[in-house]
């Protein structure tokens, strides 16, 4: 059986990060959800990562637990390529 991969590059604006620990927490959250090549900037709150759309959609990546209702971090999808 051939497995298909639908790679997408997602740019997120992330709110709520104030220190390097925050960056680590959010990065890990994104990686655990299947995000690859995650790059995150504390300065402008922008994150760029790659996902396999078959496994997780861009909409769902913005709703993973690290961005959940009770979490201090929130993500807004800015671009999907």
């Amino acid at each position: 059986m051939k497995s298909s991969v639908m790679e997408k590059k997602v740019t997120l604006r992330i709110f709520g990060m104030t220190c390097n620990d925050c960056v680590k927490t959010v990065s890990e959250g994104l990686k655990n959800a299947g995000g690859e090549e995650v790059s995150l900037s504390l300065d402008d709150g922008m994150a760029i990562l790659k996902i396999d759309d078959v496994k997780i959609s861009p909409e769902d990546i913005a709703k993973i637990p690290v961005f959940g209702e009770k979490s201090r971090y929130k993500a807004q999808i800015r671009k999907v390529e």
Binding site: G16, E69, R72, Q76
Partner: protein
């Protein structure tokens, strides 16, 4: 130079403040927000709407109670009113509210930058203020509010008129006031001025005083206001307006007959029109009509990155509560990945006259037209023990339920304090309650709010024959 923001809000009123503050809270004050507008900070509600009108209404109530005390043995006195002093105090209250609840509040939000001026879209992601500054945003919220609709009446401009924007600068009490258009503001201000000593006439083209409310309640309210001396000139089309000496003449057409009334001042409350002129909406791909901006149930306009909230949106009613809820809902949809919607049937309305009219959900007619059959019960106010103690008998309660499920779909009240307890109707509709659920909740005796329980009881028993101690 173009300034960049996460969110640009056009407007500085209720919808704008609610959106900006909620967005700041959700994003830990990290969303960079621009708030653009002109005139006093806070927009209509605090400056020229809810706040001054409710102040004047309460003051007028005191005068009315002096003139007509409800209880035998308490002597009537003609109130001595220093109108200028009263209006100065009103303006002071407005200034304080604006200072405390808008200007000072913003000091806690460094992420919100406030700009002065009128703005319009120059592309789908940039607006320009009349000062020349340009702001681009990832998202926008249009919250530009509404203004009094001024119909094209011959001679109106030359004769001069007041609106709900200008009436607050009055320093003398007009001996007589002609209000063109009824509506919430016309009725509220009409009663306040009448009670403060003016002779008020309300002139309306239609027979109903406010569109979309239960007719029987509307008629009862006209009766109550009429008994206080307000003259209702319904089904009159205003033909022309002109000056005669110090007076203003309003000439109306009633059937084929021309009628004239002479007044000191004219107050226009002839509906509201959305502030959409010169906003460059086409440049941002935003659809709108004369009635306002079109939004989907997530409050997105036809440009999905641009939202709209408050009076500028095409809606049946224009309310502070709705504007604020819409602003907060948009913030949540933007930054919490929400797809929150507002159920308009759960939004209560109130006319702050005495008696107050408060209503939520469908009228009987609306429900029948939309879903087929409903059942309803109406009880007069004097069935409610507390109303009898208050010596008030003008008013009624009406509940509309779905015939099959018996769920409450509309609650309509004309009574003292109705605005204070209509929330019971809101909760009933929001939580899909039946009339039995209302009956099974203990209400405080004696309260006017018990009228809701009595109306629910009237679905299965004759409440006029009940002891007031029966649950």
């Amino acid at each position: 130079m173009v300034k960049n923001f996460d969110l640009v809000i056009i407007g500085r009123g209720s919808a704008a403040f609610s959106a900006a503050i909620k967005a700041s809270e959700i994003t830990m004050h990290q969303a960079k927000i621009a708030m653009i507008g002109y005139g006093y900070l806070g927009g209509t509600c605090v400056n020229v709407g809810c706040v001054p009108s409710k102040y004047l209404i309460e003051a007028a109530k005191v005068a009315q109670n002096q003139r007509y005390p409800k209880y035998p043995g308490i002597k009537s006195i003609e109130p001595s009113i220093d109108f200028k002093k009263l209006m100065n105090s009103l303006r002071e209250v407005v200034n304080n509210e604006r200072e405390n609840k808008y200007i000072n509040v913003l000091k806690s939000y460094e992420n919100i930058e406030v700009f002065d001026g009128k703005s319009s879209f120059i592309s789908n992601d940039t607006v320009k203020i009349d000062s020349g500054e340009e702001m681009s945003g990832y998202n926008f919220i249009i919250a530009t509010g509404s203004k009094t609709k001024i119909p094209d009446i011959n001679g109106l401009r030359e004769t001069g008129y007041l609106t709900s924007d200008t009436v607050w600068s009055l320093n003398y009490m007009p001996e007589s006031l002609g209000i063109i258009g009824g509506g919430f503001a016309g009725l509220e201000l009409g009663q306040a001025f009448q009670r403060l000593g003016s002779h008020v006439a309300i002139i309306k083209e239609h027979e109903t005083i406010v569109k979309g409310i239960e007719n029987e309640l509307g008629n009862e309210l006209i009766k109550a206001l009429g008994e206080e001396g307000i003259q209702f000139l319904l089904k009159r089309k205003v033909k022309k307006v002109y000056k005669k000496g110090n007076k203003k003449i309003i000439e109306t057409l009633h059937g084929n007959e021309t009628e004239k009334i002479e007044v000191d001042e004219i107050l226009m409350t002839s509906g509201r029109t959305p502030n959409i002129d010169n906003l460059g909406l086409e440049k941002a791909g935003i659809k709108y009509s004369e009635e306002g901006i079109t939004v989907n149930d997530k409050l997105q306009t036809s440009n999905p990155l641009i939202y709209a909230a408050g009076d500028v949106v095409h809606r049946k009613y224009k309310l502070e509560t709705l504007a604020a809820r819409e602003g907060a809902t948009i913030a949540s949809n933007l930054y919490e990945n929400g797809s929150k919607k507002i159920n308009l049937q759960e939004i209560p309305i109130s006319i702050f006259t005495e008696p107050q009219l408060a209503s939520v959900g469908y009228t009987e007619k609306e429900y029948n037209e939309k879903f087929g059959k409903s059942m309803s019960r109406t009880i007069p106010l004097n069935f409610v023990p507390k109303a009898r103690l208050l010596r008030e008998n003008c008013g009624m309660f009406k509940i509309v339920i779905d015939e099959k499920t018996e769920k409450i779909v509309g609650v309509h009240v004309l009574s003292p304090y109705a605005a204070e307890f209509i929330i019971e109707g809101v909760n009933a509709i929001k939580n899909n309650l039946t009339y039995l659920d209302i009956i099974n909740s203990t209400h405080i005796f004696p309260t006017v709010a018990e009228g809701i329980k009595l109306t629910a009881q009237s679905f299965y028993r004759n409440v006029s024959k009940m002891s007031c101690c029966m649950e």
